[in-house]
Subunit: 447 residues, 2 copies
């Protein structure tokens, strides 16, 4: 059991067999489009072969920079937004000690994030912490001009230079950006920052296996070779097999069939709080790939058993447009058992001696059946354990399945035309030169 | 501007005027039901008058216990799940330093949470941290037998007794539970724990203004008098006024009208990461109150501008069953401005000297208009600033609006029958005495 698996036996009963057959045939066609590069957005297929094309030169440089950060820094600030931080954060949070920021001594620097929001309190608070600790900065932005990370980089660069002087500051800045163009590339060349390339043919949400993800993951002390190894394995698995065997095709087909049956919201379920950001990464991947042309499955996430006591009621008995996809993890990394208590005051001595993971697993199975009985189809992704290799598999599996799923839905899974709308308005309202007229008309609408 | 406000001018255009008038009349009827106590679930209306009925005896005892925890503890572990922790966490996270767990020195203990999940790694990691720090425990559970908090309390009580001895451990345990019955009440009496009552007529998701919320909030160093004062103000505001003035009636009416127009998913939007748990609290309040009888608005949450780079594409252009409710906060607590950079490498010098909060506010306004243009109605909750008093207002406002909204939808907003289904299955699968037969049949279904 060193490979992820998929079980759709609790979902197929909710779809029309004819529709499902038709969809499976379409997924086969999507697979051909994708692997032949003949579909929409085919100038953004660089991620397809990333696992097998990562060079040792690249990973060597990443590991050397990670070692430098380890030697010099208590914290590494990762500046990026959307696809420029969610992948790294998903992997690092899944693998880290759940209370790492509360621990005194650490072998590796802790990662903190900036430029993924515009909160003044958040960034002021971060600078306050950094006043008292040694740190490095990884700044990740293709253009170097995206507002949130660019503002954060202005703040952090000034802070670093004040704290360490310009030369030492430069040795603490690592840049991941466009190969040839863009603001960050120019600065990196001038100031001699250690810099990395985001390939032109890899979009943000598919970029975790480039330096965008690999550099922060290595800086946090995790094994990027194993991550790539896992992804490579899944790259191979996803190449072939029928629509009933290839796990990415199975996932793409069943979720499109469910969508056509009126199940328009997919809830990604985990039973491990450290998978929260993996779900966030998945939400971007699928939401941004499919949510266009007034269609697409709405991606949502819950962490159980926590949210069984908040969203559980709705999922069990609310509007029936939901289906669930469960990340079903098998082995915890630690061992903790329920203590026996004399007199059994809470009536739980029948659990004494059991591991928490066993109770958690029975909660998972009990929930699965309860929700299916309530009319919520379930897709179960079997996850043997949480380590770098398995996460590498999961990343590639979901990326590949997402591309197939988007083609099957009939959209371009590699663009995001809707993300520009708010930016244009924001620039106009902020008085960016050239946007004066738009600004005026927007202000009128807000009066 | 010391009071929250509501602006529905960007939502009314999406609903049929006749439907909206009808709904407003129904909300007026719901208001009468609620205030007269004649509606469904009227044995759970204790929360209605909580703000004006909190006694000084109670707050004095809470403050004395908070002072004891401050003197003796680096951390306070709050054990609870669902309504027994989300309210406290919502308030404490909103008011805390955004990086409080990374700061060395603190005036007040930091809050950490246990028993809100069953993860073995999570609880083992927590015990590891607690091995090295002084701490106290607040355990919150009406019955004392809910699996997650009961398991966590077994672990923490054993850990405390080993660390401090039985007597000293008892002085570090604070219990919030049922007045007369239940496992925790019995233990508290026997061991002389400091204990507090959860009123019988207040359900979990409406309990933040009882000791369930007040004790942890006070332990974290926040002003519970101001919180209650704010809630009391809103208690008065919500009593009267027409369906076009009373903010709770306005919110209840427009969201029900949107629901009838096919807007079946409500996204709670914030632009401040520290409001994440406030959104989680809101999701439980509304999801658990309305999601039943195969109806109800699906509650979802996003944090912008972060999620504009993940969920933004879907919200702008995906399936049109969405509406947004924005928590529009006006004043940050700190001041931070964008630095000027020579040569303007990233083209952002037009922002130099501006506060981050100003850019964030323009992002909010730009997003609002972009999403409305994309077919997503917007409800804007004006929040003058984030402090105890305003949060108290928000809590009561949403609780009152939720009750009105549930009555208008035609459900009992105070029960949660669907939460039991997974528990029964879990007990059966765990071999709880008396559940043998069910266990057998469930295991067969899982084969």
């Amino acid at each position: 059991m060193h490979q992820i698996s998929i079980d759709i036996s609790k979902a197929t009963g909710f779809v029309d067999p004819e529709v499902y057959s038709k969809i499976k045939a379409e997924v086969v066609a999507s697979h051909e489009q994708l692997t032949k590069g003949s579909g929409r957005g085919n100038d953004f297929l660089g991620w397809l072969k990333l696992p097998s094309l990562v060079t040792e030169d690249l990973t060597r440089k990443i590991k050397a920079d990670a070692a430098k950060m380890k030697a010099s820094s208590r914290w590494v600030v990762v500046i990026g937004i959307g696809g420029s931080y969610l992948g790294a954060r998903a992997v690092v949070d899944a693998l880290s000690h759940p209370f790492h920021s509360m621990m005194d001594q650490k072998e590796f620097p802790g990662l903190v994030y900036a430029g993924e929001n515009l909160s003044e309190d958040y960034h002021a608070g971060l600078l306050e912490v950094l006043d008292k600790s040694d740190y490095s900065v990884i700044v990740i932005s293709k253009s170097g001009t995206t507002t949130e990370p660019a503002v954060a980089f202005r703040l952090l660069k000034a802070h670093l230079e004040k704290k360490y002087g310009e030369t030492d500051a430069a040795s603490r800045i690592y840049v991941v950006t466009d190969a040839a163009h863009g603001a960050l590339k120019k600065m990196a060349d001038e100031k001699k920052y250690s810099s990395y390339v985001i390939p032109d043919d890899v979009g943000g949400r598919y970029s975790v296996l480039t330096p965008v993800g690999l550099l922060p993951i290595a800086a946090a002390g995790f094994d990027i070779d194993a991550l790539i190894k896992g992804a490579k394995k899944m790259e191979k698995v996803c190449q072939s097999g029928s629509a009933d065997e290839n796990p990415a095709m199975v996932y793409a087909a069943i979720r499109n069939a469910l969508y056509l049956s009126g199940k328009t919201t997919e809830i990604m379920v985990n039973f491990q709080p450290d998978l929260f950001y993996f779900t966030e990464w998945w939400k971007q991947l699928f939401g941004e790939s499919e949510g266009k042309e007034n269609k697409g499955i709405y991606p949502s996430g819950v962490g159980f058993t926590t949210d069984l006591h908040s969203m559980g009621q709705y999922i069990q008995e609310g509007l029936r447009m939901l289906f669930e996809t469960t990340l079903s993890v098998n082995s915890p990394r630690t061992e903790l058992r329920v203590p026996f208590v004399d007199g059994d005051p809470d009536g739980l001595n029948f659990l004494a001696g059991k591991r928490l993971s066993e109770i958690n697993k029975m909660a998972e199975m009990g929930t699965l059946l309860a929700h299916v009985d309530g009319g919520v189809p379930n897709i179960r992704i079997g996850v043997p354990q949480i380590n770098e290799e398995i996460i590498g598999q999961l990343i590639y599996f979901f990326e590949f399945a997402c591309a197939l799923s988007g083609y099957t839905l009939g959209v371009n899974p590699f663009d995001q035309p809707g993300v520009e709308a708010y930016k244009k308005n924001m620039f106009a309202l902020l008085g960016k030169p050239g946007f004066e007229k738009e600004g005026e008309s927007l202000r009128k609408r807000l009066e």
